[in-house]
Symmetry: C2
Subunit: 365 residues, 2 copies
């Protein structure tokens, strides 16, 4: 396999604080080891792609405030492969910036675009799927997206209906997309699941740089016009100034709303590598596999537990003794400056912390 | 009033960890601000006595490992007034050491001996009582102890029965002691309370140095013989070496068991200044006055509370946000290296932490 035309763009700009108080505006989820695996999400993502794509072809796009975090966590990342947005404008502008950058370097580039903060369980399977998807995309002009077999109705995910109905659901080969629906309401999500024809949208794409450029020009000309004619500036000392001007004028929109729902080139590659976009503490608890017999997940911190049930315990300081007795269905999250003790259910967490005004907590969603 | 012959001996050697994880072997209760008042117990005790006794007449006895803590918290303490025991042998040897030291300086010394870790609510009343007790002791050869009107049967305290029965109970003048009982079992404590004739022993004494020396010689000659004939060594460069030898040979015994229960010179001064020897977290909760409408005592730490009842919350870091929702009858105690969440009842706390093996937790009682 010749992978010299393969590129990876890791999107690491999100500023979510849904894992407050561990995640903050100053250090969101992708830079943390929330799942207690020993590496940050970003580090895992980088290493995962580095096994199938030449390291010098891996780019990271982040916002300016996180540039130092990226450098610290990925010391091997080439300086020219770290693209800094002045601030986040969702995924479409981010992908446009990366696409124009790659096209200048290699007009034959086939690229995958991936979030930095997803869990992948079966890395071998992931690599095989990813390489298949890249190869298929390189030979065609499709916009390939990885589809995950859904486990439950979840209105936090995007949904993809493949062509071919139920019969296609069990295949493991690329298929054209029939419909593309970003974050349906819970009732619709249930309809999707019950139909047996829908996949979750993993937000991991594969396409030729030329193809996505053409589709961006077609569906989001208000973004591409900001780049057109200025390609030569990319990679030069005035790039930063140019990008600041671009973003000042740029709309905020996701690639899903802006392109994938509209294009007739969207294809899906059904994936089975075990995937989760763990969006909050409750979801982390649900996915955490190393619980004790009473359902307690002591993810980080030294454990001293007596008479507890279904706890989620996380200490930012790994050697802190978490001595807990007699709690049930709670989460206990400890950082240097905040201790959170709250029922584990995400709704209760959100209600409780919604009103918190902290300097480093500006954009809780 | 001439207070030049008045001395105070503050006993600050205890190593208890009943306020674990805040109190440790390396920093027991007297050096902490457990009650969240803004000063440590030792500091309060020193300042309280400094208002009635010349500062140069205030001594602190502690164990060698705490000498630096005392110096740090009481920078004005004269170096010769800091007596260091090599290790704790309970109160009788401590008092003997201080008594021989004072007698060498001033044979007419009248001294009060006080623990370093008690709460006194009414400081004005305390000063008046203390001065009365010192004056009475200075003119007689009694061993005066302050008696507190008990609030409930509590087998953690010593009990004093005054002469005169119930009729004497309401008086505020010195009376001879009839019986002296250190830490009765709960049933006996109840009998004492019901009788209406018993006081709690505050462990705060007043006597002439000469008087206590004589009583020590009478009832604890195995201690006094270690000092007799060596008085000239006290206050010289070889004192440390001498005291190490004394303590190596010295029995471990309290002044209550060793002298007060046996002597016929014991008197009681009924005191009404609001007193508590807060021995554990549950007792601290019971005494804490600044609870919210739902009985929550956020003693230290920034408070974010929702739907809690009867909590005790303590953060060693005062500006840490303690965000707690939906807990009832728990204590939440946070330090740098330990988070404790446990039902508030002392029995549950003791059971839970009894088995903890930490380097700084060697002598949990």
């Amino acid at each position: 396999m010749d992978s010299s035309n393969y590129y990876c763009v890791i999107m690491a700009g999100g500023a979510g604080t849904r894992f407050w108080p561990v995640s903050r505006t100053s250090c969101p989820k992708q830079f943390l080891d929330i799942a207690g695996t020993g590496k940050t999400f970003l580090r895992y993502t980088f290493e995962r792609f580095a096994k199938i794509i030449p390291e010098e072809n891996i780019l990271v796009v982040t916002t300016a405030r996180y540039v130092d975090l990226v450098k610290e966590q990925l010391p091997e990342l080439l300086p020219q492969n770290l693209l800094a947005e002045p601030y986040g404008r969702d995924t479409a502008p981010c992908i446009a910036y990366a696409t124009y950058t790659l096209l200048k370097r290699n007009p034959k580039a086939t690229m995958t675009v991936s979030p930095a903060d997803h869990l992948i369980m079966d890395e071998d399977k992931f690599r095989k799927t990813m390489l298949d998807a890249l190869e298929y995309a390189s030979k065609t002009d499709v916009l390939m997206t990885l589809g995950i077999r859904p486990l439950k109705p979840d209105s936090n995910y995007g949904y993809i209906q493949a062509t071919g109905g139920k019969a296609a659901f069990d295949k493991e080969e690329p298929m054209p997309v029939k419909t593309f629906t970003e974050k349906p309401d819970p009732a619709l999500a249930k309809v999707f699941i019950d139909s047996g024809e829908f996949f979750w949208n993993a937000g991991i794409f594969a396409w030729n740089a030329e193809t996505i450029k053409n589709e961006l020009e077609k569906y989001l000309p208000e973004i591409t016009r900001l780049f057109t004619g200025w390609e030569n500036v990319l990679g030069t000392p005035v790039e930063k100034e140019f990008i600041e001007r671009v973003y000042a004028d740029c709309i905020k929109i996701s690639i899903d709303y802006g392109v994938m729902e509209k294009t007739d080139r969207a294809w899906i590659y059904p994936a089975r590598f075990g995937w989760a976009d763990i969006g909050n503490w409750e979801a982390l608890y649900d996915h955490y596999e190393d619980k004790d017999n009473h359902g307690n997940a002591f993810i980080s911190g030294e454990r001293l537990s007596d008479g507890n049930r279904n706890l989620l315990v996380y200490s930012k300081k790994k050697d802190k003794l978490m001595a807990i007795k007699g709690l049930e269905n709670f989460m206990v999250i400890d950082t240097d400056d905040v201790l959170l003790i709250c029922p584990k259910e995400n709704r209760q967490f959100k209600d409780f912390v919604a009103g918190i005004a902290m300097p480093d907590f500006e954009d809780f969603r």
